[in-house]
C-alpha cells in the first residue's frame, strides 16, 4: 500500500508503459531497441501483477511469484534474442530491422 496512490493511477501507468513498449516495438529501427521495447511490455505486466496482488488480493502471493518468474523468463528471452542478433550481425554486419526482410509475400 502506497499512501495516496490508488490502484488506478498505477494501472494507468502500467498501461501507458505497455503501449509505449508497443510503440517502440513498431517504430524503432534497431533490433536491440526493439528488444528493449519488448522488455517494457513485459515489465508493464510485472508491475501489474505486483500491484494487483498488493491492492486487490493481498492474502496470497500469487502475483508476486508470477512477476519473479516473468523477470527470469524475460532475461532468458533477451539472452537468446541477443545471441541470434549477434549471429545475424556476423552474416550481414547490420542489426537494422530492415535487414530482415528477404522473405516476404
Amino acid at each position: 500500500m502506497i499512501a495516496g496512490i490508488s490502484i488506478y493511477e498505477i494501472l494507468t501507468l502500467t498501461t501507458l508503459l505497455f503501449f509505449i513498449g508497443v510503440y517502440g516495438f513498431i517504430t524503432r529501427k534497431n533490433l536491440i531497441s526493439i528488444l528493449i521495447s519488448v522488455e517494457l511490455i513485459m515489465n508493464a505486466s510485472v508491475v501489474n501483477f505486483v500491484i494487483i496482488n498488493k491492492y486487490l488480493y493481498p492474502d496470497a502471493l500469487q502475483g508476486v511469484i508470477f512477476s519473479i518468474f516473468i523477470i527470469a523468463v524475460a532475461a532468458a528471452e533477451t539472452a537468446l534474442a541477443i545471441a541470434i542478433i549477434i549471429n545475424l550481425y556476423r552474416q550481414i554486419g547490420s542489426v537494422e530491422v530492415d535487414a530482415t526482410e528477404t522473405m516476404k509475400y
Binding site: V22, T27, V97, T100, E101, M103, K104, Y105
Partner: protein, 639 residues
C-alpha cells in the same frame, strides 16, 4: 377365329431384315434378292388368306364386321395406362395388309432387276424388309402408342432408303429433310397422344372409337381455348398424319424424297407409307366424326382439298417426271383426306370414308405402277428429266402400255380403277360440301392434264439422241409392271362398299351418273389439252407458260415453300438461336465459372502486399488485431 398366325406377316420381313442386315457382307447379292422376295411372298399369301378369313369365314356378325383383337402388355405407365402390342384386325387393316404386301412384293421383284449390280444390293433388300415390317406393324396396331412406335420406324426406314445413295449430298439432304419434317409433325402427334391418354385414360382404338364409349361421349368435359381438349388432341394427331401424308404445309419433304431409288419411291412415297396419315385418320374416324360435331374432321377436309389443288397446280410445271409423280401423289392423298373429311358415319353417310379407302386402294396400285414405269424409263435413258425423253414408245412397248393404263386410271377414265374410287369421292363431296366438290372436279382435270403431259412427253414427241439406244427392261422389271397393270384395271370392280364402311355394316353403292359424266368429261378435256400441247413438238406450252407469267413462275418454284422453310430453319433457328445459345454458354455461363476462379487468384495476388516481410508491420497487425477485437467485443457485440 385364331388370328395369332397373323404375327407371322410382320415378323417374316423382320427376320429377313435381321438375316440380311447382320451379315450383309457374307450373303451373295443374288441370294439375298431371293431371300427377300421369298419372305415377302409368304407374307403376301398370308395377308390374302387373312383377308379371305376375315371377310368370308366369320363374315358379318349380325350385320357388322367386328374388329378382332389380340393384345399383350408391352410396358406399363400407370395402373391404367400402358403400351400394348398386338393385332387389330378389321376391314381397313386387312385392306392395308393386302395393299402393303402386294405392292411390296411387286417392288421386291422389280428391284431385283433395277438394283442389279449395285454395291449395297443386300443392304437395300434389308432396308426394304425393315420398312415392310414396320408398315405391317403400323397397320395392325391396336392402340395409339403402338401405331406411333411403328410410325417412327417407317419414318426411319424411309430415311435410310432415301439416303440410300449416301455419298450423294442431295440424297443426304433429302433424307434429313424427310426425317426432320416428319419428326416435327410427329411432335404434334405425340402431344396429341399424350392429351388423348390423359383425358380419355386409354390409348386403345377399340375404346376410343366406341361411339357409346366415355371417351367420345364426354368430349366436352374439358376445354382449352374454346375447343374441347379432345379436339385439340385429334387436331394434333392429324398434324402427325399430315406430316406423313405430305399435306400442306408439311409436304416439302416428299418431292425431295425422290432422291431415293425409284422402287423405294414407288413403295414408300407413293403406295404405302404416305397413306399412313390417311389410315390414321380413318382409324380414329369415329372420334373425328363425333367429337365436337366433327370440327376436327372439317379441318381435315379443307386441308386435304387445298393440298390436292395446290399439288396438282405445281405438278403441271415440274420437268422431273418423278417429281411430277410425287406431286400427283400428294394431290391424290389430298383427295383421300378430303373424302374422309366430308364423310358421315353410318349407312350411306359413310360413302366418303368408303371412297377414301377405296381410292387409297386403287391409287396404291396405279401409282406404284406409274413409279415403276417411270423407273423403267429412267433405267433406260439414265435421266429424270422430260427434256431428255421422247418417242420411247417403240423402245419400251410394255412400259408404254402399262404406263398408259396407269395414266388413264389416275385420270379417272372408265373402266379403269381410278374412275370408280374418284367418282365415289366426288359424290361424297358433292353431297356434303359444294366448294370442295368443285375443287375436286378441277383437280381431276388438272390430274389428267399433267399426267398425260408427261406421258406424251415420254413416249411420244420426237426422238431424242440417246448415247446408247434405250431398250426394254428385263423381265424381272416388266412382270411386276404387267401384274400391276392388270390390277389397275380390275380392282375398280371390287364392291368396296360391302366391306369397308365406318360402321362396318356395308351398303350398296350406286354410280351417280351425272356426276360421273362431269368428272369423266373434265378428265377427257385434260387429256385432250395435253394432247394438243405435248403430242407434237411445239411451243404452245411455252407461250402459255409465258402468258401465265408470274403465276407459272411461282408454281414452278413450288410457291417458294422450301425457301421459306430454309429461312426459318437456317437463318433463325440455326444461325439465330443455336449460335447464340452456343455463344451464351461459352461467354456467360462458362465465363462466370471461370471468372470466379480468376477473381480468387486475382484477389490473392492483390492482397499479397500485407505479408510485407517487415517485422514491425506484423507487430502492428498483431496489436491492431487485438485492439479491434477488444473494441468489437466490448462496444459492439455485447449481448
Amino acid at each position: 377365329m385364331d388370328i395369332r398366325y397373323i404375327y407371322l406377316i410382320p415378323f417374316i420381313p423382320l427376320a429377313v431384315f435381321l438375316l440380311l442386315g447382320l451379315n450383309y457382307k457374307r450373303i451373295k447379292p443374288s441370294v439375298s434378292g431371293y431371300i427377300g422376295v421369298f419372305g415377302l411372298l409368304v407374307s403376301t399369301v398370308l395377308s390374302y388368306y387373312t383377308a379371305y378369313q376375315y371377310f368370308f369365314v366369320p363374315g358379318k356378325v349380325n350385320g357388322v364386321y367386328k374388329p378382332i383383337i389380340d393384345r399383350h402388355v408391352w410396358m406399363n405407365f400407370t395402373d391404367t395406362l400402358s403400351i400394348d402390342m398386338g393385332l387389330y384386325i378389321d376391314a381397313i387393316s386387312v385392306m392395308m395388309l393386302v395393299v402393303v404386301s402386294t405392292i411390296s412384293l411387286m417392288v421386291h421383284i422389280y428391284s431385283r432387276g433395277y438394283m442389279k449390280g449395285d454395291g449395297g444390293y443386300t443392304k437395300f433388300f434389308a432396308f426394304l424388309s425393315l420398312f415392310t415390317f414396320s408398315m405391317f406393324g403400323l397397320v395392325l396396331s391396336t392402340n395409339l402408342f403402338q401405331i406411333y412406335i411403328f410410325w417412327e420406324l417407317v419414318g426411319v426406314s424411309s430415311f435410310l432408303l432415301i439416303g440410300y445413295y449416301y455419298t450423294k449430298p442431295s440424297a443426304i439432304a433429302a433424307a434429313k429433310k424427310a426425317f426432320i419434317v416428319t419428326r416435327f409433325a410427329d411432335l404434334g402427334f405425340l402431344i396429341g397422344i399424350l392429351i388423348m391418354g390423359y383425358y380419355t385414360g386409354t390409348f386403345d382404338f377399340e375404346t376410343l372409337n366406341n361411339p357409346e364409349g366415355s371417351s367420345i361421349l364426354n368430349w366436352a368435359s374439358t376445354s382449352f381455348m374454346g375447343l374441347s381438349v379432345i379436339t385439340w388432341g385429334l387436331l394434333l394427331i392429324f398434324v402427325g398424319g399430315a406430316g406423313k401424308s405430305a399435306m400442306m404445309p408439311f409436304h416439302i419433304w416428299l418431292p425431295d424424297a425422290m432422291e431415293g431409288p425409284t422402287p423405294v419411291s414407288a413403295l414408300i412415297h407413293a403406295a404405302t407409307m404416305v397413306v399412313a396419315g390417311v389410315y390414321l385418320v380413318a382409324r380414329l374416324f369415329p372420334m373425328f366424326y363425333f367429337v365436337e360435331e366433327g370440327f376436327a374432321l372439317s379441318i381435315v377436309a379443307y386441308v386435304g382439298g387445298i393440298s390436292s389443288l395446290f399439288a396438282a397446280v405445281i405438278a403441271i410445271t415440274q420437268t422431273d417426271i418423278k417429281r411430277v409423280l410425287a406431286f400427283s401423289t400428294m394431290s391424290q392423298l389430298g383427295y383421300m383426306m378430303m373424302a374422309l373429311g366430308v364423310s358421315g358415319y353410318d349407312g350411306l353417310e359413310g360413302v366418303g370414308y368408303m371412297a377414301s379407302m377405296f381410292h387409297l386402294f386403287t391409287h396404291a396400285m396405279f401409282k406404284a405402277l406409274l413409279f415403276l414405269g417411270a423407273g423403267s424409263v429412267i433405267h433406260a435413258v439414265h435421266s429424270n428429266y422430260l427434256k431428255d425423253m421422247g418417242g420411247l414408245r417403240k423402245n419400251l412397248p410394255i412400259t408404254n402400255i402399262t404406263f398408259l393404263i396407269a395414266a388413264l386410271a389416275i385420270a379417272g377414265i372408265p373402266p379403269f380403277a381410278g374412275f370408280w374410287s374418284k367418282d365415289e369421292i366426288l359424290v361424297a363431296a358433292f353431297e356434303n360440301n359444294q366448294l370442295l366438290y368443285y375443287i375436286g372436279v378441277f383437280v381431276a382435270g388438272l390430274t389428267a392434264f399433267y399426267m398425260f403431259r408427261i406421258y406424251f412427253g415420254i413416249f411420244w414427241g420426237k426422238e431424242k439422241q440417246y448415247d446408247h439406244p434405250p431398250h426394254e427392261s428385263p423381265a424381272s422389271m416388266t412382270v411386276p409392271l404387267m401384274i400391276l397393270g392388270v390390277l389397275s384395271v380390275v380392282v375398280g370392280f371390287i364392291p368396296f362398299s360391302e366391306f369397308v364402311t365406318p360402321d362396318g355394316k356395308g351398303f350398296e353403292a350406286h354410280l351417280n351418273y351425272p356426276l360421273a359424266a362431269i368428272a369423266v368429261t373434265v378428265g377427257i378435256i385434260g387429256i385432250v389439252l395435253a394432247w394438243v400441247f405435248y403430242k407434237k413438238e411445239n411451243n404452245l406450252a411455252d407461250t402459255y407458260a409465258k402468258r401465265f407469267g408470274v403465276f407459272y413462275k411461282w408454281a414452278y418454284h413450288k410457291f417458294y415453300f422450301d425457301e421459306i422453310y430454309l429461312f426459318i430453319t437456317k437463318k433463325i433457328l440455326f444461325n439465330g438461336v443455336a449460335a447464340s445459345v452456343a455463344l451464351f454458354d461459352k461467354k456467360v455461363v462458362d465465363g462466370t465459372m471461370n471468372q470466379i476462379g480468376n477473381k480468387t487468384v486475382f484477389t490473392s495476388e492483390k492482397i499479397k502486399g500485407i505479408q510485407s516481410g517487415k517485422l514491425q508491420d506484423y507487430a502492428l497487425a498483431f496489436v491492431g488485431g487485438v485492439v479491434v477485437l477488444v473494441m468489437i467485443f466490448i462496444y459492439f457485440w455485447t449481448e
